[in-house]
Point group: C2
Chain length 308, copies 2
């Protein structure tokens, strides 16, 4: 079953307290998601960049041969989305230094006709109305999952609530889960969001792991214990990509990709991939990541959690 992701491809500048800044590196939710998922399954991306998008970044993306970039539109006359972020000492908080939406603020990219049979659909964070428009272009989905953020929870609540009634799963950060639900306890927040429609909610807590609230159960996983965090950018999107990639593999084997048990297991794949992403800037670690390294760390992570 084919996996598709809609989201952003951006040109990032990253400031951290521990290294020289990196300017003009590859970023974006779609990019990180697709790169992470590509270790598990072929993945189609739907995104738009401007005519200024550098060939060097395009070739970085091409390194991930399981990514289908037919849906990556390079729009004439438009400029690419650019984002700059600055991390603080403990690396778990950041400020946006600049956000130049450019082509992202124009009409959304066109979904290629060849993508319409995609069965697993991930809608990375953007305006929930745009997410809904994207969702409607995949007529026969087996699993639909969306990410969102504080901006839409505050400003586009009705559109977001409409979307939530249409999707199987929601992925969001812990503070956003609390904001959307009005509940201060993360577990209670995640559970209460099920009432808005989704079959499951995954709350991302960064270095503290994640919580899964599903109609059929509740689970928690720690993050992989990382001593070296070079650049946390894209950790959440890589996590989602690893999770959806693992679910796509299960779908190929005929397993139920909406079950509590399978989603819970897929979270471990997301956790492991995200733990590599943060070890270097941009996609640098994923570019040189091997399947053997993933399997080794996944085994270590599973053994670490074996307590009964």
């Amino acid at each position: 079953m084919a996996l598709v992701v809609t989201g952003t491809v951006s040109i990032d500048t990253i400031y951290t307290p521990h290294a020289a800044p990196r300017e003009g590196v590859l970023g974006g939710s779609c990019t990180y998601f697709a790169a992470a998922a590509s270790f598990f399954t072929p993945v189609r991306m739907v995104a738009v960049v401007g005519e200024d998008f550098p060939p060097g970044l395009r070739s970085t993306l091409a390194h991930f041969r399981a990514i289908d970039t037919e849906g990556l539109e390079a729009r004439a006359g438009a400029k690419s989305f650019r984002w700059g972020g600055r991390y603080h000492k403990n690396m778990d908080h950041r400020d946006s230094v600049f956000t130049e939406l450019n082509v992202i603020a124009e009409r959304p990219p066109v979904v290629p006709g060849s993508y319409r049979d995609s069965r697993l659909v991930f809608l990375a964070n953007t305006h929930p109305g745009v997410q809904m428009g994207m969702l409607e272009q995949f007529p026969r989905p087996a699993l639909t999952v969306a990410d969102t953020m504080d901006l839409w929870i505050d400003g586009e609540r009705d559109a977001l609530l409409s979307l939530l009634r249409r999707i199987d799963g929601l992925v969001l950060n812990y503070d956003e889960a609390e904001q959307l639900s009005g509940k201060a306890n993360t577990v209670a927040a995640a559970r209460s969001l099920l009432a808005l429609g989704p079959r499951f909610v995954v709350v991302k807590k960064g270095e503290h792991g994640c919580i899964l609230a599903h109609r059929d159960g509740l689970a928690a996983l720690p993050a992989y214990p990382s001593e070296t965090v070079v650049d946390p950018t894209g950790a959440g999107d890589s996590f989602a990509g690893g999770m959806m990639g693992a679910l796509a593999m299960m779908a190929e084997r005929g397993e139920d990709v909406r079950s509590f048990e399978n989603i819970r297991r897929a979270l471990a794949s997301g956790t492991v991939i995200a733990s590599f992403t943060i070890e270097d800037f941009s996609l640098d670690r994923l570019v040189r990541l091997s399947r053997a390294e993933i399997d080794w760390r996944a085994g270590e992570f599973a053994r670490m959690l074996r307590v009964g």
Copy 2:
């Protein structure tokens, strides 16, 4: 192998945003530790209260029949330690409303001669010099573990460093681990503390679980995902009590209580007991907790973490 804990028994007043305050309830590090450990093993306590200590609180303690209270001194002419705490909306931060040290500020309690053969020793948080004095009264320990706090890290660093060279394990909160190590990453902080002497360091992260850094490996566990947190007081001491109680059980079976694998597994027992402690005020939940409930939740927790 006998388990002993040294620490405080207090009379607490707890303010939370969700319920009427509870005044004059049973508290203290020694109390929570011993109650939690008592579900796994007999446990000896060394602590001191004043002559004002209410019979009602003593009978609450007596409910836990596996607790040996011979080492609980009721000192004539002295007043009991009293503490008041107020929790904020999300229940993971608190302020001390009052701290009346009273008998805690006098000479430490006397360790009964019958306790000298204790093999597993837990030194709950107090002045590191007092912890050292206590440690010296157990001549043949198989496992020694101490808790500490910011007050001693700042103010009694040399005494704390002396203690760290003498113990097998250190248990502390994540912010204290960062303070003691000077490292902002919790995993790096825990690992670097091994250089100060201990064989292992357990970092408590409250609702986010714990990190184990051991000479032989690194592990992370989430907290049990609790929706209802009534009173987090004593969660950390219950966690340590469950961990040490589980290790005492392993010691009875002839297992190595200082190995990475056994300590890692024991963390799960601490996690499960702590998840019950926070479901009600003071010791109220532990008083009505059954072994069957513990086993059921431990099984659920282990299944939740089975990912490979």
